[in-house]
Symmetry: C3
Subunit: 365 residues, 3 copies
């Protein structure tokens, strides 16, 4: 880390979007399955260690477990098991240098732990579709008010929409009436599905969060094969962003890859929009510098955030933070080399992006 | 500038698309509002000086006003006011090294001045929708012929379409009949809106320009929050480009970010299509080199143009030119370093892109 | 080549998608017309030698013909003619270092030759639409079974779909019934067109190939002006990829530029999907390194392939291979410089991408 700018190397980070940590031990297949957005290792490919993220684990995570860098995949998985999940998780979370975690607990399998169990503070992010799925079982009549009550009862700092996964981001900007919402809930209950996958409900949930002044995070772009990525371009949110602009409630575009330039544009032209590069930052491994630089082209530095989007593997918190530090340092060093700004500018940008913007947007302090 | 290739540093430029210069003094809020495509500084963000373009102003514009590079924003705005808009505008326009300005006067608030007031020649670009808005007030009957007469009466070197802002770029390629155009004008007048925002009229206007042999500029991509960016991908113009191909009249795709690779592709496969990177070149500040290199991947060097798309702030002409010179120099130096072409090739590419292509496409000489 | 990593410089390549070589001599216009995806040199542009690919020919191909690098275009074309097409073709194909060619013979003008005529092995790729065009002349009744018989009679290692050119990639994932296919064939015959351009038929052909276990190549992205590029984003294939996933038959996304990041994503999340950067690798000339690096961001290294997509000009095999070697070397050297992986990792990635993945996906050995 000695070639990193000190402000990037030492920044205490706010991870404004992440998930739980798996507290169970994993064999090699189980580890590989959680390493990328692929559901499993396929016989047509080779090991998923043959990928940017896989090589990054062997290079940068191995030393945290007292292995030499670039160890063999089997050696890595064996060491991980011998240390045990508790020790592995502690080591990576402490090494990540993250102070605050905003945790989306929408998917929380048995054996998941809060990343703040080992270090830092935890803040609750309520996944809107999961809340609706809990609430709808009591019936369609009164569903809107029960959603409101459930939101009010939850001490969350933000809401999270997975409309991208369920209906795409081409949401009608109009706030639906309670009658329309009840009708949608009735259709849903009649469908027999437990999944909230209705455009009326997705935007109802977003509007309810906005009404409560809850910052709304949107899954955008990169995800697993359940997503229709061409329906997840953040530009599709433009009408809704226009409609919510006057409310002054932050809308936060998550991940965004490969549409990160689109997200940067939206964060520039809409005063309430923010963007990040979570998930992609660790997924692209040692190539994070170019991708982050693209993401930072037109976004004002007061509108960009750090996140890991880490799920299950503690390595992903560590790598998400490490590769973000390196990429941000590379971006700043390049600007300094070109004389584009001063060291004090670089430190301010680092402070904003690493945590200041998140603290302001979510009013964490 | 001493690390720039001499051919890039010294090129006399043709700015083939720009706007007027504000002749009034500005306070800090007024300056920031005109710095990016954001309409205003929002309370959720920080100052817009915390952006690539903001830091570029402090770094490269300050010395033109006899301030040290990297001065404080307040100091910059104060100095600007104390010098007065007339002196500030003269200083930046002269320093830009631009010889010819093709000026879109479609938006021309009180107190706007022609950038060629201080240096160089000015050429008129007629904004088609503005012309239609002037003409339609006399009624729908005869509207097509009155548009023709108005176009004929204007001594313009090019037409400009803002279909992107009004109806998107997914234009039907068919030339509408005068009857269809009159019907559309009638609908427009009945709507009570003064804005020309009808797909039939947008393509009618384009076809009229093409009929007169007037090169047609299209706003593409990056703009303010009025634009639906996902409807502004230049690829949506493909059917119209096919339909106009045999006419041999240049079609010029402006800005294009973040779809600049798409524009380069169109400029390669359609003999009458040209592309630029205006607006984005200064918006991305010190990162212009990578973005310009992407824009130059597949576009033939005889089909790419320089422009600033500067509006209101004289700084944007200067930065647009300076950052273009630096980015073009970086592109050429990288090619020379790789042995991909010779210095004489680099000089020829610089000459074409800096002005030769514009002179040929618009028959300026 | 001395700055290339030895593993990249010396790799014996499998070109998993290419076309025939023109065995006739060319004048300058004929050469330029085949150099890019432009159909001809237009009077509004300059020579197509003023492009990344044009300068690459003068730089890297000239020495293969015993000319100095950076010779003049006319000198290059004259030398080419004086040597004769047979000698020129032999020189470039041998110098390419390609061992195996998967040849799409769907367009095969008089005077075309198999690239393996001079070196290496040739494998047949059946172009599905061309096969359908041959078969349909016998009538709509029985068309599905005649397609099956024609596919069975062909000793091909893969099928190729040009749905992108004919109907776009937004294919319905449902396998059509024989009745639907016969109805579509009837409509086609009634239309008087000889071109297979029907969405039902495009997906029928793909499903037939999948049923036979034939890997299916899709034209994606970059092509000539016949293509509607906005209908060729590989993400549009998502529903069909989901529907074919359980079959375990490779789907290979060709070219992909400027959607190469989208293709990499699909190759990560679908176990049967592969991607390449053919055509674009030589089209962008000395800039291939950045584009290839982007293509390799999230794709597992077991899922990316080399191809040239070379058509007509033997130079394109040579440049496709040379620029691929340089770009892959730059990618690997950058990773080594950052300490992201070891030399043995670099060698393994080179081996997979250069040929190992193709040998496994097509079962070539």
């Amino acid at each position: 880390m000695d070639s990193l700018l000190p402000c990037a190397a030492g920044a205490r980070l706010v991870d404004h979007h992440c998930h739980g940590v798996l507290a169970a031990d994993l064999d090699r297949a189980g580890f590989e399955e959680r390493l990328t957005e692929a559901a499993e290792v396929g016989p047509l490919g080779t090991t998923l260690f043959d990928s940017s993220i896989g090589l990054a684990v062997l290079r940068w995570c191995a030393p945290v477990l007292d292995l030499p860098p670039h160890c063999a995949p089997d050696e890595y998985v064996r060491r991980r098991r011998s240390l045990g999940a508790a020790e592995v998780n502690r080591a990576f979370l402490v090494a990540s240098g993250i102070d605050d975690f905003l945790v989306d607990a929408g998917i929380w399998p048995d054996g998941f732990a809060d990343p703040a169990s080992w270090t830092g503070r935890s803040f609750d992010v309520v996944r809107l579709e999961a809340l609706a799925e809990d609430v709808v079982v009591a019936g369609a009549r009164g569903f809107p008010d029960r959603v409101r009550a459930a939101l009010a009862a939850r001490d969350a700092v933000a809401a999270k929409s997975i409309a991208a996964y369920r209906v795409g981001l081409d949401l009608d900007p109009a706030r639906p009436s309670d009658g329309e919402v009840e009708a949608a809930a009735r259709r849903w209950l009649g469908s027999g599905s437990s999944r909230c996958a209705d455009e009326v409900l997705s935007r109802f949930l977003v509007w309810e969060a906005v009404d409560r002044g809850l910052p709304v995070q949107f899954h955008v772009g990169y995800g697993d094969s359940d997503v229709d990525l061409h329906r997840c371009d953040p530009l599709l949110l433009t009408p809704l962003l226009r409609a919510t602009r006057s409310r002054g409630v932050p809308i936060l575009l998550l991940h965004n890859y490969p549409f990160h330039r689109h997200a940067g544009y939206l964060a520039q032209v809409f005063p309430h929009v923010f963007a990040d590069l979570g998930l992609a930052t660790h997924a692209v491994g040692h190539q994070a510098s170019r991708v982050l630089a693209e993401a930072l082209e037109v976004v004002p530095f007061g509108k960009f955030l750090f996140s890991t989007d880490a799920f299950a593997l503690a390595e992903l918190y560590y790598l998400g933070a490490l590769l973000f530090r390196r990429a941000l340092s590379d971006f700043l060093v390049d600007g300094l080399r070109r004389g584009a700004f001063t060291e004090s500018d670089a430190e301010r940008v680092c402070h904003l992006v690493g945590g200041g913007n998140a603290r302001r947007a979510y009013r964490l302090d």
